[in-house]
Amino acid sequence: MDNFLGQFGPATVGGLAIGSIYALVALGYTMVYGVLRLINFAHSEVFTIGGFAAVGVFLMVGVSAPVGGFALIGLLLLTVLVAMAASGGTALLLEQVAYRPLRKHGSSRLAALISAIGASLFLQELIKLVIIPHVFGQSNGAIQLQNMPRVIDKTPLFSIGNAPIRLDHVIIVVAAVIMMVLLDRLVNGTRVGRGIRATAQDPEAAVLMGVNIDKVVRTTFLLGGAMAGVAGVLYLLYFENLDYRVGFVVGIKAFTAAVLGGIGNLRGALLGGFVLGLVESWSSIFLGAEWSEVTAFVVLVLVLMFRPTGILGESLQRARA
């Protein structure tokens, strides 16, 4: 128990940071599911692409020592924009190639999910066989950022109780919350967002009311992809390494977070991400980090068994989200 109390603070901080990343990725699952009733299995690779785009920016800019102040803010903004563009573009392409033809035929959802798995495997291997060796010149399918100069300083800034808070913790949580608020405003406060909500609620009626469904679907993929891109940058800052399979685990956990919060519900995704991050972080004090994936899956099964609509309920399809 002493052990638990001693580690509780740091585990909470770590859980919130990793939870923010899950939450951002979960947004993509939740929005696409809300609009198309499709688990976008390849969303995990959209996230990975964002991370690799960030590595590319760091290498291009040529960071040689941890940066601070305005230079850091500028660098992060640039990285986030590039990663959002890369991930959003991938998501759009994915929709165009893997889902649109099926949607046009009105294919079964089984066919759509299998197509999604195919796209996921394809992208994963593309990153492993083409992008990593030919763009980054690495051969083992992974990129260790530790071998490069650090981008941000990782000494504790201050502590709350016995939990030291580092700059990257702050950046991750703040960035995630800012992105969430922006997305929430976009979906709830603009004309584009109204189209998304209308489609999620009742596609047929939305079409009759003059909503351009194709445009709505594209926007949804673009927004979800962009959020995953931000998550990729934050993941890289936090863990300082990436490999081609990283999206698989993060993707599963983010999907769990989306279901936990109530799939189709944007605010639910944020809540689900934080809850899952914390549960995982706390449980690994007792069980060890090697069981953290198992924890996430067990949480997923329990939620689906006892409250399949999640904590906040499925709400993108209703008017609220």
Partner: protein, 374 residues
């Protein structure tokens, strides 16, 4: 369907026409002709297929018989098992490799720890996988199709990670010295692949007969009803939950059987043998071959196991090609190379067991049942 005009769809048309002709002939053939064909196929599998003449063409410069056992034989066994779950009952299982692992680990554990005999352990392993199928199915089979897919994926990963983290079953190092089968007059060893080949052929024939008999029975009809429209099946008095559980258990049993034979052949087992990609590969075999149609599934498994071995230069790009093939297949021929007619009709209707994605958007004719009830 606008898609019928696309060139890729037309490119598949000769296969479909040939398939239809074969099927018409088969429907019309009498019992003796059918038995003769079965017999010829078995004789072919036992004599010609593993022969050196065949090997030079199929697999020059490599051990063809070993390749026939693994990956080809194991893939065929697993694909037949997964076909029960995905093709017949219409439940998407993304963690099928878990049952393969449980079957293999049962044999390895009881064989090395307690020195149990191979045959007894296979029976125990099959029972254990059946039970694990029920343990997985009981809480999760009430879920909708795509949720079920994710939960089964989770189950597959849980089994792999648990094996990796449990020292009692060897942890990450795995278990060596898995027992070989014992039969009077036949010696199963690591060096000689032939006895294992006959064992594998026997297992596949057994599983095909089992799967065929069940498909034609009341159980098979119940599965088809569930696959086509679960709500309608329930209303007609089919106990859907019970039958879905049975499909899971039967698929699991076949997977476990395959795992046991495989583990005893390679005599070594470790958690790394059971990644998610193996589940995806078996699923690809079922889907590419023609989900729900036994000959199609077998052909699909054979191709997916054999092509990367034969064309070594594509081996590195194997998964990349699988991925692209799955996407293309779903866009242009979702029913697979050799589909069953019924399955093809279902997919053309856009039902295929799970309702249709975005059909309400594309055609504006269907409404999801869940939406009506709200």
């Amino acid at each position: 369907m606008t898609g019928n005009k696309s060139p890729l769809r037309r490119a598949f048309a000769p296969i479909g026409a040939f398939n239809d002709k074969m099927r018409d002939w088969w429907e019309g053939a009498n019992l003796w002709v059918r038995w003769a064909v079965y017999l010829l196929l078995i004789i072919f599998a036992l004599t010609l297929l593993p022969s050196p003449q065949f090997a030079t063409f199929m697999m020059p410069g490599s051990d063809w018989v070993s390749t026939l056992i693994h990956p080809i034989g194991t893939f065929i066994l697993l694909a037949i098992g997964l076909n029960v779950v995905v093709g017949q009952a219409g439940l998407l299982d993304l963690g099928y490799v878990a049952f393969f692992a449980i079957g293999g680990y049962s044999l390895a554990y009881f064989g090395t720890k307690y020195g149990w005999n191979f045959w007894a352990t296979v029976v125990v392993g099959i029972l254990l996988t059946g039970v694990s199928g029920i343990i997985l199915g009981a809480p999760t089979l009430r879920l909708r199709g795509d949720y079920l897919a994710i939960v089964t994926l989770g189950f597959g990963e849980i089994v792999r990670i648990t094996a990796n983290n449990t020292d009692e079953i060897g942890g990450a190092r795995g278990i060596t010295g898995v027992p070989h089968p014992t039969l009077p007059g036949v010696e199963f060893t690591l060096r000689d692949a032939a006895p294992y080949y006959y064992l594998m052929v026997g297992a596949i024939v057994l599983v095909i007969i089992l799967s065929r008999r069940v498909e034609k029975s009341r159980v098979g009809r119940a599965w088809a009803a569930i696959r086509e429209d679960e709500d309608a099946a329930e209303l007609m008095g089919v106990p859907t939950f019970k039958f879905k559980l049975l499909a899971f258990a039967m698929g699991a049993v076949i997977g476990g059987f395959g795992g046991a034979i495989w583990a005893s052949k390679v005599s070594f087992i470790e958690p790394g043998n059971f990644p998610f990609i193996l589940s995806a590969t078996i699923l690809a075999a079922v889907v590419l071959g023609g989900s729900g149609n036994l000959p199609g599934v077998i052909v699909g498994a054979f191709l997916i196991a054999w092509l990367p071995e034969r064309l070594r230069f594509i081996n590195e790009y194997r998964i990349l090609i699988f991925g692209a093939a799955l996407v293309l297949m779903m866009a242009f021929r979702p029913e697979g190379l050799l589909p069953s007619r019924r399955r093809r009709a279902e997919l053309a209707e856009g039902t295929g067991g799970m309702g249709s994605m975005g059909a309400e958007v594309a055609t504006q004719t269907t409404v999801e049942p869940s939406e009506v009830s709200k």
